[in-house]
Subunit: 406 residues, 2 copies
């Protein structure tokens, strides 16, 4: 089965928003084993939409259309599809009642059209908006209509359309996503070249800011068989790249790190200079962080490093704020004064100004103080912009903390 | 003139990446006054790409293709277009030399194909990669080929393609983007309903997280005339909505606020609880912040509020951490201890746990202490998730600071 994705909406053609629906649906279909050969975006225009649908029907088995199910005159996806396929529309009482319940008032004339359904269509209840989705089985073709807003479309697809499509497929595809930090995509390639040429499961690398994703995907007759194939492959990847893999289930580093701290009840405090609170804020995205994060400081100025952390004036004079020595004293200082188990320090040149030949923009020192002593790390994040340097520094600090907990 | 955007790349069809190129180009074309009626995504497949190009040529005057200009076998956009239009390709010596210079080595066989150009095409030098872009004028049609990677495509378009297209247009379109905070999209609609129905300039609202954008676009024979039309419209919008407009040139609130602090040399320090450093980090995105931000604290635990800020134990006992009283003492405390001109405090319930009926998740207090005294603000960010609450709290704090500087 191959699929085509059609996003309906003039706001997309004006470049007002990015077509995240197409990416979401393409990824989801790929995971079920349905190939997508075309994605199209067309405006709220009956003639052009008809043309696009006709074209898609000539080359795809499955059409998924998003958008144009709203209550305004611009919303015409359902009407256009029904008219093209020669299907009458009828008023679906249950949908009308659901819309009235959702809006908490009697249905307006414009909302009423959202309750009209093409004859014979499967109706998908919308738990996050007014417009129901629909699936039309037309001969060999399947046409799925989903709402445009991602927060309505995505749950409806995941909960209602995906199971429907999975039943149509003779096999199951299962993916596991590994996240790696501290090694580049080409070095990863060197270590698992043979695995990346494997047919089933496949191993596909994707570069992200500061990290690499490995997607392991298996195809089999059942979930269990597919999961089994993945496990074997992941075991082999672990053997070769284990020290760089921080998540086997696509969880971001800041969350993985925060959860580990919470689980082990290890308290942490940071003294941040150039990152200015980004490290603490990033840890605090995880609920429950209040059990291990009590205080943290942003010591942007040298005086603040002295005042809050007891960094020696002589150290700052002799080695400068961006130095291994200062990072060490900052980490010791925050650990001591906060009484946390782990003290983290981040001091660096985020730029764009302030760099010299000896200390260029992108030079960052991270210190970690624990009961076992204090270590410092030097990063050279050369050639990046201010905010990329700050984010990379935070990622490195999270990795250093996470590794210290293993 | 109407345009069609074609993105070439199997990684798009697999849902590995989002098609940001289409959004960028659509917005840019819209700003030049070129209508986009279709966007298509197709894979690295000669037959399907040919089909898509033929279809586009039948319905659009301008085709912009991105992707498929690389050195691998999968890259076939240029070859497919040339063959479809019956154009021979020749080796462009200058492009070959530029590629060798960029790679700092003798050109490989695969990179060499990137230096082949269809006869008669305009060549666009790539300052950020190896593949040159090209413009083919084919009768009434214009076909533009650009590299896929955004950091190569976007500058090439802006610096080379846009001026080319602007010359082809009989008129000029100019936009100004206003950013509004503290008023909802429908209230904005109420106040400028008549202006939003204007034909030239047009006024279009876009909702973003925590704020609304108003895009004012004028069409005229010259830049000056268009700018003039925009200025008159913006003057009227200022009359009605001025108190909510924080930027007349699409600059984000954290940058606007930071620049104002730096310009006026007004120092600031924050005491953050639930936002945990996000406020300080957000201000520090702007270079030069070190002249006004010397220190900031994250006082997540009650004890930390007492220790760092001198918040009274009785206040915390009686009113709780999330209260107007605590916010006030936090703001006073950080201002006093840091000696900053402005002391900001943020304390709230980010959730998902910890809410009660009296103090629900989403309840946030912000305090601002200046030489003129201390004010507190209560926010009820109900129904949002943890990180949306934290970001909204930061936006509100930035707005409060910014307004205090006016």
């Amino acid at each position: 089965m191959n699929g085509e994705i059609i996003a309906v909406g003039t706001e997309l053609l004006l470049g007002n928003i990015v077509n995240t629906n197409a990416q979401f649906l393409s990824e989801e279909l790929s995971n079920i084993g349905i190939n997508v050969y075309y994605q199209t975006v067309v405006g709220d225009n009956k003639e052009r939409l008809e043309e696009v649908i006709k074209c898609a029907l000539s080359r795809a088995d499955l059409l998924i259309l998003t958008g144009g199910l709203g209550p305004t005159d611009d919303d015409l996806t359902k009407e256009t599809v029904a008219s093209l396929l020669g299907l009458d529309m009828y008023l679906h009482k249950e949908s009308q009642e659901l819309i009235e319940k959702y809006l908490n008032k009697k249905i307006s004339q414009s909302n009423l059209k959202q309750a009209y359904i093409p004859k014979g269509a499967i109706i998908l209840k919308n738990d996050n908006g007014t417009a129901p989705g629909i699936i039309i089985e037309n001969g060999e073709k399947i046409i799925v209509l989903l709402p445009g807003p991602p927060k309505e479309m995505a749950p409806m697809f995941s909960q209602k359309v995906k199971p429907y499509l999975e039943k149509k497929s003779p096999y199951v595809m299962r993916s596991k996503i590994l996240r790696l930090f501290g090694i580049g995509e080409s070095s990863i390639g060197d270590k698992i070249k043979d695995l990346m040429q494997n047919d089933n499961p496949t191993v596909a690398p994707y570069a992200k800011d500061n990290e690499t994703i490995l997607r392991v995907t298996a195809r089999a007759a059942s979930k269990e068989e597919a999961d089994n194939l993945n496990s074997k492959m992941i075991k082999e990847i672990d053997k070769r790249l284990g020290e760089f893999i921080y998540s086997h289930d696509d969880t971001a580093l800041n969350i993985v790190c925060a959860r580990k701290l919470i689980e082990k009840n290890i308290t942490i405090a940071a003294a941040e200079s150039c990152t200015a609170g980004l490290f603490a804020a990033t840890l605090a995205e995880t609920p429950g962080i209040s059990s291990v994060l009590f205080e943290s400081v942003v010591t942007y100025a040298n005086e603040a490093k002295e005042k809050y952390l007891g960094v020696k004036h002589e150290t700052l004079e002799k080695f400068g704020a961006v130095s291994e020595e200062t990072a060490r004293e900052m980490a010791d200082g925050i650990r001591e004064r906060s009484k946390a188990d782990i003290g983290i320090s981040i001091t660096g040149l985020a730029g764009p100004d302030g760099g010299t030949e000896k200390k260029p923009v992108g030079l960052v020192y991270i210190g970690i103080a624990t009961e076992d002593g204090t270590k410092t790390y030097e990063l050279k994040l050369i050639g990046r912009d201010r905010n990329k340097i700050r984010h990379a520094a935070v990622m490195n600090a999270l990795s250093i903390v996470y590794k210290s907990l293993e």
